[in-house]
């Protein structure tokens, strides 16, 4: 990599509905992120935000409305649509050119104000074919789950264990939206949604404003004693028609391979200390772990049985509670990365993992059955 980029500060808002408005919430999170490292707006180099247009917020060209809330008045700034790890990549690139020594990232989503998640994801489909058949992220995830269980013999109990683990982890995360001590039976007996998915295996609709300050090597050292370095990134997009895809061979493999190559990671299972993945549907954490190379295809059911991905396990996955606990649609990728940052710095509070964390992986996905994936690796 030509120039090193560090994460030096993060701030986030909590998942439940707030009566504060979108504009003011965005400002407060930005302000907190800058205050943590004593930055003023004048020092701010550039800004990249991530949000989603009207369907996920009720306002078109969303960054027109929130522009100044990110400190961007008369700054060079830009915006990514739909996935906040895209904004991370774009912000890092801006610093890597040497033109800016810092970049504020802000992911914005106020789920409490929006229509149901699937009312929004229905709009990903073309208006002629997929949309008329009611294809949403949830129905496509249900197809994927069915195919996954049938192919590998992974059981619905093993899938439910992901929700037990993550909603349990969320008891220790003050920002989480949904949390609780559940049993596998509780999860499986929750209201049926799109079979085989039940209600507690599906992420809620949350609020989430996540701010992150990136800095060049020189600037990072001035701002903090504990910079966390950007090590690798990859992303990949799959074909549009669901029927044209192998739902169990996803583009996450491609995205992860790019990120691992850039970060020089040969054996992810050993070299990644903690992973925060985007699992809006419980079984997806298992499938994504396989696609990320944490175990062999079909092996994640046994991995969760063994407790490997528990907060105290050998490779903790979603110690924050993940997306099942907090699902601000666009912000969730950057939120995973912010959690990785906190784990590396030992600042994750009650959900800090037991082991020393040198390298963390953050994953974001959006689209039907994971049509698009992004992976970021950060470390000491």
């Amino acid at each position: 990599m030509s120039k090193k980029v560090a994460i030096v500060s993060v701030a986030q808002s909590a998942g439940p509905a707030s009566k504060d408005n979108f504009y003011d919430q965005a400002y407060r999170v930005t302000r907190e992120c800058l205050d943590k490292v004593g930055m003023t707006r004048d020092d701010l180099g550039t800004v990249v935000s991530a949000s989603s247009d009207i369907f996920h917020g009720g306002i078109s060209c969303a960054n027109a409305y929130y522009w100044e809330t990110t400190g961007a008045f008369l700054k060079n700034a830009s915006r990514q649509d739909g996935e906040s790890l895209f904004a991370f990549m774009y912000g890092a690139m801006r610093i890597m050119t040497g033109q800016y020594d810092n970049c504020l990232l802000l992911a914005l989503c106020k789920g409490s104000e929006n229509p149901e998640n699937d009312t929004c994801t229905l709009m990903f489909g073309d208006p002629f074919y997929h949309r008329n058949l009611g294809l949403t992220e949830t129905t496509s995830a249900a197809f994927q789950m069915q195919a996954y269980m049938e192919k590998y013999g992974v059981t619905k109990e093993q899938c439910a264990k992901v929700a037990v683990k993550n909603l349990g982890n969320a008891l220790r995360n003050p920002y989480a939206h949904r949390r609780g001590k559940y049993t596998v039976a509780d999860i499986l007996n929750s209201a049926p949604a799109a079979a085989p998915l039940t209600d507690l295996q599906i992420a809620p609709k949350s609020e989430g404003f996540v701010a992150m300050l990136l800095a060049s090597e020189k600037k990072a050292k001035k701002l903090t004693d504990k910079p966390v370095w950007f090590k690798g990134y990859g992303s990949s997009l799959d074909t549009y028609f669901l029927g044209d895809r192998d739902l169990l061979k996803t583009q996450l493999r491609t995205a992860a391979a790019q990120a691992y190559k850039m970060a020089g990671i040969k054996d992810p299972k050993k070299e990644i200390d903690v992973a925060e993945v985007t699992e809006p549907y419980a079984f997806q954490e298992l499938l994504w772990c396989e696609e990320l190379g944490f175990c062999k295809p079909g092996g994640a059911g046994k991995m969760i049985d063994k407790g490997t991905t528990e907060i105290s396990g050998a490779l903790p996955v979603n110690p924050s509670g993940g997306v099942l606990a907090n699902n601000p649609y666009v912000s969730r990728g950057l939120q995973r990365l912010a959690e990785g940052f906190l784990q590396i710095r030992g600042e994750a509070g009650e959900h800090q993992v037991d082991k020393k964390v040198k390298t963390a992986l953050a994953h974001g996905t959006h689209g039907f059955a994971g049509q698009c994936h992004a992976v970021a690796i950060i470390g000491v």
Binding site: I54, A64, Y65, W67, D126, S236, Y240, F241, C372
Partner: protein, 388 residues
């Protein structure tokens, strides 16, 4: 500036009312052309930047899903850049930063819009929140016309002269569109036609306004090494500038638009441009409204504040003038919004690589491109040159 970045291919659709094709097919038309123009294959692409106007205008959310195949983006990293009207130039900026950062050697940039399928002005109204500004901005023409009115009233220039200058621009661009095979509106108009056309949003009349177009534009950005290996005619990115202002329309002066001034300044400083009117050979200014185009000339230093109407009437910005502006016919004749800013960059590239055909400005070496957006908030600039 990071690593040098070149542009080696441009693909545009025939812009217009394109109900003959479905939206993905329109996108694909531009993508096929950029591969044809650059001689590259989809397998050569390291990453794709896509962008458009907001979902409400598309009727589809997060269009990169739907257009993954049309953009040949399957299995590739993607960035989805959207900044309202300035989306197109922001897409070009993203592709530039991607290559300049060293994270990729070959990046495909795609901007697209099928405006005839949605309700553009209703969408523009939803750019404003529904508490306050939404009631008054009157779609895009409302704010931009208030800005034009503010500017036109500022320097004590007789209204008749300003209208003559606006009509001059309209006539010039409508004529220019005949020389651009991709342009949408191809009609001959006279100055009287423009001045007597119906008031849409005063001071803007029907022939002062851009059309509603469908269209897409694709470009390929490459690193210096890659450009050298390919050995093709290359346009080099010389300057990249962008600025944004507050959401609240009344917070900043729009008559001498600070964001536009500073976006251009950032790009000029990088490109070493001291006297824009002399140092630039051609400019593609984002001009959905004739009056606003004059304001931009002033903000970009093409003339003094208040000096634009006189210079326009003298022909300074005509095709044969000192600094030809929008020889493609500009936004006034073609406006598929999500693609429009990228088309400005593409036209600048065509000019400095000598590939602009009938609307080529002879010996153009340095070209300026621009787009704007938001509630009169955003300005983005990209300057390209024929020499590294």
């Amino acid at each position: 500036m990071g690593r040098p970045v070149g542009i080696i291919g441009v693909g545009q659709t025939k812009h217009g009312r394109r109900m003959d094709v479905a939206y993905p097919e329109l996108v694909r038309e531009a993508v096929l052309r950029v591969f044809e123009d650059s001689g590259l294959e989809p397998s050569d692409i390291d990453g794709v930047v896509s962008g458009t106007m907001p979902s409400m205008m598309e009727g589809v959310a997060l269009t990169h899903f739907y257009f993954a195949d049309a953009m040949q983006a399957v299995g590739k990293p993607i960035l989805k850049t959207e900044t309202c009207g300035s989306t197109g130039v922001s897409i070009a900026h993203t592709a530039y930063y991607w290559v300049a950062s060293g994270m990729a050697d070959v990046v495909l940039a795609v901007g697209h819009e099928k405006m005839n399928e949605g309700d553009a002005q209703a969408t523009m109204t939803t750019v404003a929140e529904p508490f306050y500004q939404r009631y008054f901005i009157a779609g895009a023409p409302g704010v931009f016309s208030m800005q034009s009115q503010m500017w036109a009233d500022r320097y004590g220039i007789p209204e008749a002269k300003i209208r003559d200058a606006a009509a001059h621009i309209s006539v010039e661009h409508h004529n220019a569109a005949f020389e651009n095979p991709y342009a949408h509106v191809k009609i001959r108009v006279t100055a009287d036609d423009v001045k007597n056309s119906r008031v849409i949003t005063y001071p803007v009349r029907l022939l002062d306004v851009c059309p509603t177009s469908d269209g897409a534009c694709a470009m390929i950005f490459v690193s210096q090494n890659k450009a050298k290996k390919l050995g093709r005619k290359t346009a080099w990115v010389k300057g990249v500038g962008y600025r944004g202002e507050e959401y609240f329309f009344g917070d900043s002066d729009k008559g001498l638009w600070q964001g536009a001034v500073l976006a251009a300044k950032q790009a000029y400083d990088q490109a070493g441009i001291k006297n824009p009117r002399k140092d630039l050979d051609v400019a593609e200014v984002y001009n959905p409204f004739t009056f606003q185009e004059m304001l931009f000339y002033e903000c970009f230093g093409f003339c003094e504040p208040g000096g634009a109407p006189d210079m326009v009437l003298k022909g300074t910005f005509d095709k044969k003038g000192q600094l030809p502006c929008d020889p493609s016919g500009g936004v006034l004749c073609t406006n598929p919004i999500g693609a429009t800013g990228l088309i400005r960059v593409a036209e600048a590239v065509l000019q400095v690589t000598g590939k602009a055909g009938e609307h080529q400005i002879p010996k153009a070496k340095t070209a300026f491109s621009h787009a704007m957006g938001g509630v009169d908030q955003f300005n983005g600039v990209m300057i390209v040159g024929s020499e590294l």
